[in-house]
Amino acid sequence: MTPFELIEPRTLDEALRLLDPADPGVRPAGGCTALMLMMKAGMLVPTRLVSLRRIEPRYRDIVASDDAITIGANASLASIEHSARVRDELPALARTLRTLANVRVRNVATLGGNLAHADPHMDLPPLLAALDASVQVQGRGSSRYASIEQLISGYYETTLAGDELIVAVRIPKRAARGCAYRKVTTRSADDWPALGIAVALEREGERVRAARVVLGAAVDRPTRLLAAEAALQGTRLDETSARRAADAAADEARPSEDARGSAAYKRELIRVHVRRTLLEAWCDEPVGAVRQ
């Protein structure tokens, strides 16, 4: 590994000041797991890493309010997985984390780092997009919110400026929302997935009031499947309507071909797994959520 400088500022302000948008060699660092892999592969050769792990502890907090759960960007994936609030109110998120990488990586990797990495194969971006999460981005003297689709702009690309940091992710609570995520691996179980499908359904009585269907891994960024969403609106979710929406998803998706499958094969995977994910999301029972 090429030598570099590693700085551990004690405050977010100091971290923001240490970043230099004019110098691509200066990079922020969260848990450093994905970052070290890229450095080992020679994909990333930073001259200075600004580690965020010693900034104010409040950036690790998981806070519930009446209308949202807000997770600090420095929260480890394990702390989110084990959070009682998350398990009660966002069980699909806790379930998804159980199969994300492994225990050791989850102990170290952070939510902010995961999102800023923008690897298209990751599980959380499509799931958080389905949950309508917004990402709080802090710059020097400025703050903005971005949806996942606004944050992740392409293959390992985000709209973060060189002197901006993710500080929190806000997940709005919704009454009667069921959610599910399916990761489809076509080689070994622990390989990166060929596709990830996230679904969030808001129920109104026995019908779907609003649906979000988000595809990951098979495309260069988390992508909402709008035709599938439209096909679900107002329907009573059952095998037939799930199949119709899954057909719409397979028709509209533009999966890419790679070692994990041809585009045609992934299209069929989308057809099968959108249907299954819809049925799972419909049966999802958030323990603490208000049911109508």
Partner: protein, 160 residues
């Protein structure tokens, strides 16, 4: 600060130590330099678990952790001694069940099994398989490893 070596101070298996490290060194490289060879880099990608160590009570992959970040932490490795013969229940159970062939992955399996039993004293076979899915044994001693974890769980319960 710079790319030069830095002195870090931390607790290693209960003993306070100081070491000089460069920012690009990982935990496995440092431990090996200190004469501890139980954590070894195998896949180098955090997938296989051979480099498992505990930092402030959390299991991490030593190959994906910068050594400088051990400053002011408590680190436990497989070399940490237990009891009269130096072995805890998990190690005794691994020996008793023959839960290894070449032994290269064993330190990581032992450390992760300890973490599992601390969090879940009576894991089902599915829970053991799931928890240890981030550890690879190329000799495929998995059936014996699972039996060893079950035995260690019984031994721990009998003790407490």
């Amino acid at each position: 600060m710079s790319t030069a070596q830095r002195i870090i101070r931390f607790t290693l298996n209960g003993e306070a130590i100081a070491a000089s490290v460069a920012p690009h060194e990982n935990v496995v490289e440092l431990l090996q330099r200190l004469g501890l060879h139980g954590a070894r880099e195998s896949c180098g990608q955090g997938l296989c678990g051979c480099c498992t160590v505990r930092v402030d009570g959390l299991a991490v992959s030593g190959c994906l952790y910068f050594a400088v970040q051990l400053d002011a932490t408590c680190v436990d490795t497989i070399e940490q001694p237990f009891g009269e013969d130096g072995l805890d229940e998990v190690q005794q159970a691994f020996a008793q069940c023959g839960a290894f062939q070449c032994g290269f992955c064993t330190p990581g399996f032992v450390l992760m099994s300890r973490e599992l039993l601390a969090a879940n004293p009576e894991p089902s076979e599915d829970e053991i398989r799931h928890y240890l899915s981030g550890n690879l044994c190329r000799c495929a001693a998995y059936p014996e490893i699972i039996r060893a974890v079950q035995l260690a769980a019984r031994m721990r319960r009998a003790r407490s």
